[in-house]
């Protein structure tokens, strides 16, 4: 039976049978780029967002203040430029620009990773800044009041809480990245969308190929969002806690469970 004689379901099954290997490979590439770039983007975002929340200390000299201003300006420009232009064009700009102007031939992988993580970083920078600002100022005061330095306050108290606050946004970014890696097909990255284009080009079955690919994208993003939810609830810790009875130094006796919902031990 030739493909033109098949019905919709048969064509989808045919695509799955014939191209399962390349679809899986495409999905794996998409996921690898999305995960690596979201993580790198978070690192960039935390660094940039952190610098942008630094207020100059009252005792800082003119040089330090000026330096901070210049750094902030550059970072701001980075955020605005990368948020303000399409990633597809950035990909073309960086990948082809590097080779034609500077003679640097970025590998397909390194180009893909640089573009997506730098892009994610630009968005994350604003998210992190918001996350830091959303932490109650009292937390900072509490930390400073027991003698913590600015740095310790950030690392031990503010950032962990900011990270928890922006977890939903990080999840958002991961899901956006899973889908948006498709623009990398412009520089020839063989990810899931590129695979879709090859299949549909080879078989002329756009509808069926699109359906199959969409299902795969959805499975990937849905699984990720569930996993992230689980991580979030793990970060929150249990809603109950253990009452430490008798000798708390030795912890010899057992712990009693305190059910905060019931308001008593059980």
């Amino acid at each position: 039976m030739s493909i033109s004689e098949m019905n919709f379901l048969q064509r989808m099954l045919y695509i799955l049978q014939e191209y399962s290997g390349s679809l899986l490979k495409g999905a794996a590439t998409t996921m690898a780029i999305a995960i690596i770039c979201t993580l790198l983007g978070c690192v960039i975002g935390f660094a940039v967002g952190l610098v942008q929340t630094i207020e100059p200390h009252r005792k800082d000299g003119l040089f330090k203040r000026g330096f901070l201003k210049v750094v902030k300006f550059i970072l701001n420009a980075y955020v605005e430029i990368f948020r303000g232009t399409p990633m597809m064009l950035q990909a073309a700009f960086i990948y082809y620009g590097m080779s034609s102007v500077f003679g640097i031939n970025l590998g397909m992988w390194s180009a893909a990773i640089i573009i997506v993580s730098v892009n994610t970083g630009a968005y994350m920078a604003e998210t992190v800044r918001g996350g830091i600002l959303s932490v109650d100022p009292g937390q900072r005061e509490g930390a400073r009041a027991i003698g913590m330095s600015q740095f310790q306050t950030m690392i031990l108290v503010i950032l962990p809480q900011a990270l928890r606050n922006i977890m939903p946004q990080i999840g958002n970014n991961l899901i956006i990245n899973i889908k948006d890696t498709c623009v990398l097909s412009i520089i020839g990255t063989v990810e899931l969308f590129f695979t879709f284009k090859s299949i549909s080009g080879a078989l002329y079955t756009y509808f069926e190929a699109a359906t199959v690919t969409m299902i795969i994208y959805f499975v990937l993003t849905f699984a990720c969002s569930r996993i992230l939810r689980y991580i979030e609830s793990r970060m929150d810790g249990p809603s109950n806690f253990d009452l430490a009875t008798t000798d708390t130094l030795a912890f010899t006796s057992g712990l009693t469970r305190y059910d905060s919902k019931k308001g008593g031990t059980c």
């Binding site: 009292g138 509490g142 027991i146 003698g147 310790q152 108290v157 905060s260």
Partner: protein, 245 residues
């Protein structure tokens, strides 16, 4: 008694608004000083200036003779000596009760884990919160949070404890448990500076009462002097509002 803290001609302005005008007073070892006054009189700002959460605009704050405003002592080191208890508790939400009381000791004072834990447990028992060491702040009531906050401050072995309206954010039935802890602290000889609206506490626990109005110290004296025979008319007016109740 040895003077720990000497505040001289302290001025604090926010823009054109002068919140503290020429404040002078001393804190000696073992003092329990209550600062009373209506809202907006500058009580909290005074406390925050002493802990350098706000930068004083003028004057001097001498800690054992060293001017903290001129950086004669490291700001962070100074803060470990002057503990602060806030109206809104400010416990670290991302740590358990025990960790809240340990983290400052291990990271700021560089104490060992075991020593820090023993100390934390000692003070948590002192405030009656030793059963709750595994709880997160969000699982506690306001009064419990404030008692943990006091234990956290105590674990740093401060020389003075500053209390910024420690019971103002609490439900009436929780005020007592926090005041009890503070009363016991005062009895044990802790030097305390308490901004409060609890007149009974100011009267029975403190050895000195400072009445502030419009950014100035209007009157200062023993609880007996302030509450029974205030000299200033403003003090009389302020206190009469409490006596009416």
């Amino acid at each position: 008694m040895e003077t720990i803290l000497k505040v001289e001609h302290l001025v604090k302005t926010f823009g054109t608004n002068e919140v503290l005008k020429d404040i002078d007073f001393n804190v000696s070892k073992g003092d329990v000083i209550s600062i009373i006054g209506s809202s907006g009189s500058g009580k909290s700002t005074l406390l925050r200036c002493i802990n350098m959460l706000e930068e004083a605009t003028g004057g001097r704050i001498l800690y054992h003779g060293k001017d903290i405003l001129r950086g004669e002592i490291d700001e962070d080191t100074y803060r470990t000596k002057v503990g602060m208890v806030f109206q809104s508790f400010n416990l670290f939400n991302n740590y358990t009760v025990l960790e809240n009381c340990i983290i400052g000791q291990t990271h700021v004072l560089k104490r060992g884990k075991e020593e820090a834990k023993a100390k934390a447990l000692k003070y948590l028992s002192k405030v009656g919160m030793e059963l709750y060491i595994n709880a997160k702040p969000r699982q506690l009531s306001g009064g419990q949070k404030q008692r943990v906050a006091i234990a956290r401050a105590l674990a740093m072995d401060p020389e003075i404890l500053l209390f910024d309206e420690p019971t103002s954010a609490l439900d009436p039935e929780m005020v007592g448990e926090v005041l009890d802890v503070m009363m016991n602290l005062a009895k044990s000889g802790m030097t305390m500076l308490v901004v409060t609206h609890e007149m009974a506490f100011a009267r029975s626990v403190s050895n000195r009462v400072v009445y502030m109005a419009d950014g100035r110290i209007e009157e200062e004296g023993s609880p007996e002097e302030i509450f029974s025979s205030p000299k200033s008319q403003r003090t009389k007016d302020f206190l009469s509002r409490f006596n009416d109740k």
